[in-house]
Amino acid sequence: MLAKALVGGRRYYGWIVGLLAAIGVGLLCYLYQFMNGLGITGMSRDIIWGFYIAQFTFLVGVAASAVMVVLPYYLHNYKEFGRITILGEFLAVAAVTMCMLNIFVDMGQPLRALNMILHPSPNSVMFWDMIVLAIYLLLNLVIGWTTLDCERNGVPPPKWVKPLIYLSIPWAVSIHTVTAFLYCGLPGRHYWLTAILAPRFLASAFASGPALLILLCLVVRRFSKFDPGRRAIQNLALIVVYATIINVFFVLLEFFTSYYSGVPSHRHGLQYLFFGYEGHAPLVPWMWFAAILAALAILILLSPSKRQNESLLALACGMVFVSTWIDKGLGLIMGGFAVTPLETVAEYRPTIPEVLISVGVYAIGALVLTLLYKIAISIKEEPQAL
């Protein structure tokens, strides 16, 4: 099947070359970071995680969202999603790959990464996160590849795949829950110290992931002969809008608890992000921009006529994606770190090499996604043997 990824037109190869160029630039920047240390980033003694971990957290959500097509198809026999489960699974593979790379580039001593396995520490949530992410990657790769291969050969998938598929459903929930536990189990970081963080992560995941999947479906339909199906896309849009509403609701719950209780330390994170704290307000425009995008996207997607207009749908999905990227990316990190344990305020601004390394990681993800989608679509375009 791999050979199918090598056959393509000029546009396909142009895109691949572009991605390779971005990867090359990222790699050079990473070598610079490897030689000089993480001091080349904007991170500091107070803001110890930045752009990399922000992308990691956001992308775990994108990865988890594959469950939103797998679950209706396999548990509820919702046939419309049968055509696109492979797109969801391969998106998860690309997203988890990016997650792992983001963790790797964030390590101060990357050559010691295997210490996580040599000295396994079940008391650390990071240990569990490594395990759930690695297994989730394998699950999606194995399931996607096997079902696709069977589709190509016109035979039904082998029996052993079914249990793996059923396992992948709770597993998707687990990767994002465990990722939330990285944050919400830390004493003294009040923006994260909230039981609703895991549900909030899941809600924003089920908004941003399917939103990206819709955009990918529209792209696939435009550039190939494979049609993911209008009804599938419309139903994904419904998932996006309700997940977005739930996510916004959860954020409002945070506001109520933090502000009505009047406990200062519980308020600092939200205050810094949305209104500014002791004169520091660098993220305020970003957070309000994210809030407005989410509100507009809900308005567009709730209306059936607007939702069925695919240009508006694409616009709304883009808005949801950007909104959650801000909220769950740098917003999440800075909300936890900006007001330090000593209640001073620290600023963070990613540096150019730092951003280029992140772009390189995204380019690797896009390359993995392109190759996998190319294979999947080439097979879907073939006349079915069954």
Partner: protein
């Protein structure tokens, strides 16, 4: 057969995975035998080390400075400064340093606080918690709690993920964003320097205790009575006598971390 330290660590880590897995040793995070840390006979020993800082006896800036300098000199702590001589807030490493009272005790501060307290500078360092969140979150056991209560770091095992810094509610840990060695004014050959990409923090001078010496900061404070160090489990120790006779507070006690550093206000 000569076995160097690296080979020994490699073999022992493999053995731990092989044998330890069965014994479920892995479920007891960050525990190591005390004799591994204090092999010498003349070493100072305690069930749990603790430190009492008397804020009113620390009012002299020179005294505080002496404590900080002694520690940072003894442990090869680099001095990152901007061109104008101010501390480089981005890259700085600190094991013990001073902060205004309201920063060290944010929930204790109020607008009617005695003026002498509200402007006072307070020494702050790792609290060597009884229930340390940093140890809990470390994915490689590079930071661990010894049987004498000291929360220690193995910089050779640290992968630089900085989860421990996120977990510490006191801001007591520093990360080597850059190679620290060029910024060490005068290298103390008796203590290892660190490399870029690892976390470091106060170790209650476990290397000095092993030689029968008090921590560098305590020694620097001399007879001032500003810093008193001793065994919290020994009723006759100076720390216990002080804790018995004076009212003391700890930083953020509500978080349940059980600090071993106490402050006389």
């Amino acid at each position: 057969m000569a076995v160097d330290r690296r080979a020994f660590l490699r073999i022992s880590s493999l053995a731990t995975v092989g044998v330890g897995g069965g014994q479920w040793l892995l479920a007891a995070p960050g525990r190591i035998a005390p004799e591994a840390l204090s092999p010498r006979g003349k070493s100072l020993k305690a069930e749990r080390w603790g430190l009492v800082i008397d804020i009113r006896k620390c009012l002299d800036p020179d005294l505080r400075n002496r404590c900080v300098k002694a520690c940072h000199k003894a442990h090869n702590v680099p001095d990152f400064r901007n061109k104008d001589g101010t501390p480089d807030r981005k890259n700085e490493i600190k094991w013990i340093w001073e902060e205004p009272y309201d920063r060290v005790f944010p929930s204790q501060y109020h607008e009617f606080l005695a003026a002498e307290l509200s402007h006072v500078s307070v020494l702050t360092l790792c609290n060597h918690c009884g229930n340390p969140p940093c140890v809990r979150v470390c994915p490689t056991k590079a930071t661990f709690r010894c049987d004498d209560g000291i929360v220690a770091m193995d910089s050779h095992r640290c992968i630089g993920c900085r989860f421990c810094i996120a977990a510490c509610p006191y801001g007591s840990r520093s990360f080597n964003w850059k190679d620290p060695r060029p910024r060490i004014k005068e290298i103390n050959p008796d203590y290892p320097t660190r490399t870029k990409g690892v976390v470091e923090k106060c170790n209650f001078c476990s290397e000095r205790l092993a030689e029968g010496k008090l921590p560098a900061c305590v020694e620097a404070a001399g007879d001032s009575g500003a810093l008193i160090f001793g065994d919290l489990h020994d009723k006759n120790s100076k720390v216990r006598q002080l804790l018995n006779s004076r009212y003391t507070i700890r930083r953020k006690p509500e978080l349940g971390t059980e600090p071993a550093v106490f402050y006389v206000v």
